[in-house]
Amino acid sequence: MVLKVWIGLCLLLTLTTAVAFVPLGSANLPIAIAIAIAKALLVLWFFMELKGSAGLVRAFAAAGFLWLLILLALTWADYSQRSDVRVPVTTISPRTP
């Protein structure tokens, strides 16, 4: 089981790296995120044993990600409405001589 999951993870890693070099415009990011989610689910389900876990453990595991979705959704809801607020692009590091 461990070997199969590890091979699956390596194949997904190869796939995501290869796809990143193909110009797909705005589709590159969603594809990379989708493959990352697939890898994370493999680790969660098999390596972290959610497959054989009780419902309570699965609920605890899901809770963190549910709150993360709320965090991301509300952050986007805010910043997507702030088109005119852009931090001035200047450097803060001292100039090297």
Partner: protein, 214 residues
Amino acid sequence: MTDETASPAPGYQYADAAQASEVSTLGMWTFLATEVLFFGALVAGYFSYRIWYSDEWIAAAAHTKVILGTANTAVLLTSSGCMAMAVWSQDAKAKRATSLWLAATAILGLLFIAIKSYEYFLEWKEHLVPALDFDPSRYGGVTELFFTWYFCATGLHALHLLIGIGFVVFAAIGIARDRLPAGMSVRILGLYWHFVDIVWIFLFPLIYLTGRNG
């Protein structure tokens, strides 16, 4: 979810060893939920900057070392496989194998840190380290912002990994000497290790696979 490394007599607050194991599993998942939000805030920051600065942000990410980053991802995924084998060996009551798989996990963790350090060294040589050695005549402000985020994210991840390596080495030695401290469990340690792996699974495309075409 019984764990034979748990001491035969669990603490008086537990009904039996199985309940003690279940409680510690839930405790680790609760901690990991807070960690999801801890690293989640960094990811939210990444997306905010990426939406604001779009092309400049993507161009900044292209300064990272994609070959080293990909190699490191493979190293970390393999270390997770070794950790899963350690838990599996423990369930099979093979103490020596458990200890050796844990040692392999720790060695791969150290290899990850070594490659990451080399990357930091290369970035230092290229004057890409904000506040310490950053060359504004070569790179723009968005690149500085990206690398500030990059060093925060990868630095915090590396710190988590170093803490994990410490515990894994401790457990490997403890099992080899047949003296694993009561309450310490390879299974719970595995949950933490795999979580640190998951964090990297998401950091990897955001950092290294961005700006590789066009």
